[in-house]
């Protein structure tokens, strides 16, 4: 099996590793390096569960990239975003109850962070457009969109209270 030495920075840690030339970045992260916060959902770039940030801003599906082609690049996973405490997006996902099963969550958090780093003031439409490649089967997306909106409002440090849109009404008999 042909291998190649690469230099890869993962969550700020500089690594010199040998990777099989046909190994996806997803497998390198999960199987070789133990960053299991990056998830396998489809292996074909359709679901976004494996999304990582590359070189600080852009995102990519790590199942669609070969690690051997990423020599010298820097990768950030969901765990890497929380090294100085939760980032604004992660906190907003908690505040907005935008987390259900949690399997799409790391990819969603990473993708949303990538969006806000490039566009700190997105419209709802822009948020929804950006998240099209990330599938969530639990939430119906509304809480996730609200979380990104909250994060955008408090970016980078403000901590805004968010008014939840659910309505409680009293029934006729109570």
């Amino acid at each position: 099996m042909k291998e190649r030495m690469i230099e890869l920075t993962v969550n700020g840690i500089n690594l010199n590793i040998s990777v099989p030339v046909h190994q996806t970045l997803l497998d390198t992260l999960r199987e070789q390096l133990g960053f299991t916060d990056t998830k396998y959902g489809c292996g074909t770039g359709e679901c976004g569960a494996c999304t990582v940030i590359i070189d600080g801003e852009d995102s990519l599906c790590s199942c669609m990239a070969l690690a051997s082609t990423l020599n010298g690049r820097s990768i950030t996973t969901a765990a890497g975003l929380a090294e100085q405490g939760l980032n604004a997006v992660q906190q907003a996902f908690i505040d907005q109850t935008a987390v259900q099963c949690g399997y799409c969550t790391p990819g969603m958090v990473v993708k949303s962070t990538s969006l806000l780093r490039k566009n700190p003031n997105p419209t709802e439409e822009e948020i929804r457009k950006e998240l099209e490649g990330n599938i969530c089967r639990c939430t119906g997306y509304d809480s996730i969109v609200k979380a990104v909106q909250q994060a955008a409002q408090s970016f980078p440090e403000e901590n805004t209270q968010w008014d939840n849109a659910v309505e409680l009404k009293t029934g006729a008999h109570s």
Binding site: D37, T97, D142
Partner: protein
């Protein structure tokens, strides 16, 4: 101010912090010392075939291949991957004709993806390469994919005990005339002034939980079989695996991993048998099986597709005199839920409206489709698509408003619920209808739609549903809880209730904290360990908050009773004179005479002898609360969904403009999570109505086993949503709560179909309603919307 301290509050989900950083351990994330990898060889090229040659010789030559197991190398005991067989008595199971018809590996391929053999190797890659080198030759057999093909004379019979491939029909012994309902529907139908009748097709929808199934199994030094599984019913998995491998349950341990969504897909078991069989062949070594997405798609159970006939009779004034229906469900290659779903499909039908008489026939047929099973709603969305459309068809002819008719004729408090004899204890459906209609501006939009012109047409639709909170009395409803009071007065609640992501563990924490007067962080839930947790039937039937919650309340009462008994001794007064005030118990006649619950708990554990008196310092013994709770009711929730659509009559595209989702919730324990269930459920209901179906080619091979080809609503596709939770505490639910899990999916299905009907005047008898079908129908009906 709320009477509660944590109930009804949007407390952070207990698992949220870990999940936003990606730290929870799903089965696929586990790695163990000495771990081997299993790869299941599946038949991907045939939907029905016999294996004529199975040759491992080439595969075994690959370095790193440890063993390959064929159909004869594993237990020949058969099983059922569903769970219904564990939830009814043997007697009922016999009457229903339930089958255990699955084997670990097979020479008889009954559907694409059936398992032939299992390769065990030192790496996943080697296992995959070796699997490709296993030589399997097949003799193709006749393929049949639908109930009508299945029952045809001369069609291959999939199971010897089931003539005409009819896996199930409502048994005469339990349902006279093989029919569920009341009165004589055929006779009653003769009194009708208007009859509407049609044949519908409901689609095979996939759960598409984001985590593909993965497992690890290992036999330890003592011979105990361990299985790491993401099943939503860990205790049923425990029982099924022990029985399959003929081991006492004490020699099997199920470790529940974090569950990456389920929606029914993880109800019962999936590939635990194959994984455990491989582990048993290599004692000591853990074996991991990672299912690929496309594999997951065809091996795990889907929603039941089927043919649904219905006939409704009305008086001129709208009085519903009779309902007759017959659902022929497609159970696919194995029995699985062949008895459960065709029953509940009719049960939901029976629970909805005050028909003068109702007769429902439910059946299941084998086919060479991938097995059908449990999917959120469990027969309810199928009924919703058919019933709600036919109602609206009749109402158009009777010129009666759909909202008003539903207000007039829905069942409510005191009426029989989905299971006769179990009467509705609470119902706010009328309020749901009123508030939903107001929110979507029903009257205004209905009037406007009558005047519209142009190629884009708008429509509004309404649909109602009833569901359940747990499956009693049809199925066993039992949850065991123990509460261990730590010596500082904090609590460890042990229960096997699983959390698929919906938030049940958070709600169970809330219930325990509220009941025990503790803060959220003073309660810990111990779950996912079959050695430690008592019985729980599993997360299904929207039961966990309702049944699990009531079990926790019962165990909390046990704790509180013990605390009061001890406080009575400490404070030297009667129990009747004592009262809880948060974490303190005090005497009513002298509030200064008090003791904290923490002190009682501490003295019970550190029960020293007083050297002066020679007496113990307090009442001895650590406090444990216990409950073995059998649900007393099923408190069905109701709901009404309102949808507005805009249809481009030139492209057939249906755009959802707005969806108003109302729910009769009893009491909301966590508003944001309840809303999440409604919105998330709607995403799946929308899919069933408009885009989602597994398609097969004429040889029975799936055509769209990927997220690219199987179309789900994404972040940009979702309509504007509004959730209205109508509260009226239920007399049986924990703190008055009823279920919310499955309900969110159901009513959007009929509401969307009815909105399309309102826009075009056309009803669609086959779900999903795709643009192709819309265009075809416009053309066939000779309509011109220019």
């Amino acid at each position: 101010m709320s009477q509660f301290s944590v109930i009804g509050k949007n407390v952070p989900k207990v698992d949220a912090f870990e999940k936003v950083t990606g730290q929870p351990i799903y089965a696929a994330d586990l790695k163990m010392q000495g771990m081997l990898y299993g790869k299941i060889v599946r038949c991907m090229d045939h939907a029905h075939a016999r294996v004529t040659r199975l040759d491992f010789s080439e595969a075994l030559k690959i370095p790193g291949v440890i063993k390959i197991l064929g159909p004869e190398d594993v237990t020949q005991t058969t099983y059922n991957t569903g769970a219904c067989d564990e939830m009814v008595s043997d007697k009922v199971g016999h009457l229903l004709g339930d089958l255990k018809d699955q084997t670990i590996f097979t020479y008889h391929v009954r559907h694409q993806g059936d398992a032939i053999c299992g390769v065990i190797a030192t790496s996943e890659e080697i296992a995959e390469r070796a699997a490709a080198k296993v030589i399997v030759e097949y003799e193709p057999l006749q393929v049949f994919m639908t109930p009508s093909e299945a029952e045809k004379t001369g069609t291959h019979q999939l199971h010897p005990d089931k003539p005409n491939n009819m896996a199930f029909q409502l048994p005469d012994a339990m349902f006279p005339g093989n029919s569920y309902g009341w009165g004589d529907a055929e006779e009653a139908m003769k009194e009708a002034d208007l009859i509407v009748e049609d044949n519908f097709y409901v689609n095979k929808q996939k759960q598409c939980q984001m985590e593909p199934h993965a497992y690890i199994a290992q036999v330890d030094g003592r011979g105990r079989l361990h299985c790491w599984s993401s099943g939503q019913m860990p205790k049923i998995t425990h029982q099924k695996i022990a029985r399959l491998f003929d081991m006492p349950m004490s020699m099997v341990k199920i470790h529940s991993t974090t569950i990456g969504g389920g929606f029914g897909a993880r109800l019962g078991i999936i590939s635990e048998p194959e994984t455990c069989a491989m582990a048993l062949a290599v004692p000591g070594r853990p074996v991991k099986v990672q299912t690929l997405r496309e594999e997951d798609w065809i091996i795990s159970e889907s929603r039941h597709a089927g043919d649904y006939w219905m006939k409704l009779g009305f008086k001129k004034d709208g009085t519903p005199v009779a309902c007759q229906a017959r659902f022929k469900a497609n159970t696919g290659a194995y029995f699985t839920h062949a008895s459960g779903v065709p029953f509940t499909t009719g049960a939901w039908l029976s629970g909805m409206y005050k028909f003068g008489a109702l007769g429902y026939q439910g059946e299941s047929y084998f086919s060479n489709q991938a097995p059908a099973g449990a999917y959120r709603g469990y027969g309810n969305p199928q009924t919703n698509f058919v019933l709600e459309q036919l109602i609206d068809r009749a109402l158009t002819q009777l010129d009666i408003d759909p909202v008003q008719w539903r207000l007039d004729w829905h069942k409510g408090v005191g009426d029989d619920g989905w299971c006769f004899g179990v009467k509705y204890p609470s119902c706010q459906l009328s309020e749901c209808l009123r508030q939903g209609a107001e929110a979507i501006e029903w009257d205004k939009k209905v009037a406007a739609n009558k005047q519209q012109s142009g190629v884009k047409r708008r429509g509004v639709g309404v649909s109602v549903m009833n569901h359940t909170s747990g499956a009693m009395p049809m199925l066993l409803e039992h949850t065991v809880t123990t509460i261990m009071m730590n010596e500082d007065g904090s609590a460890v609640v042990s229960t096997a209730c699983s959390d698929l992501g919906q938030g049940s563990h958070t709600v169970l924490h809330q219930i325990a904290a509220e009941a025990l007067g503790l803060e959220m962080h003073e309660v810990t839930l111990k779950t996912g360990d079959s050695d430690a947790n008592g019985f729980d039937i599993g997360s299904h039937a929207s039961r966990t908050t309702y049944v699990g919650g009531n079990s926790i309340l019962e165990a909390s009462d046990d704790v509180k009773k013990q605390l009061l008994d001890r406080a009575s001794r400490h404070l030297d007064t009667s129990v009747e004179n004592l009262e809880f005030g948060g974490k303190t118990i005090f005497a009513k006649n002298n509030p200064e005479n008090s003791i904290t619950t923490a002190e009682i708990c501490r003295l019970g554990v550190y029960n020293y002898m007083d050297p002066e008196t020679g007496e113990p310092e307090g009442a001895p013994g650590q406090i444990f609360g216990f409950s073995s709770h059998f649900a007393k009711h099923n408190s069905p929730p109701f709901g009404a969904c309102f949808v507005e659509v805009e249809i481009d009559t030139e492209t057939g595209e249906i755009e959802l403009l707005e969806l108003v989702h109302t729910h009769d919730i009893g009491r909301t324990l966590h508003p944001a999570m309840a809303e999440g269930q409604m919105v998330g459920g709607a995403q799946q209901g929308i899919g069933m109505a408009l885009t989602e179906e597994i398609y097969y080619d004429d040889q029975g091979l799936a055509l769209n086993s990927s997220f690219t080809d199987y179309k789900m609503y994404g972040s940009s596709d979702m309509p504007k949503m509004k959730v209205i939770l109508v509260e009226d505490p239920d007399p049986h639910g924990p703190y008055g709560a009823k279920s919310v899990g499955e309900a969110g999916l159901t009513s959007p299905v009929g509401a969307i179909a009815n909105a399309v009907y309102n826009a075009l005047g056309i009803q669609f008898k086959e779900a999903p309603i795709t643009p192709e079908k819309v265009l075809k129908a416009i053309k066939e009906n000779g309509l011109n919307f220019a």
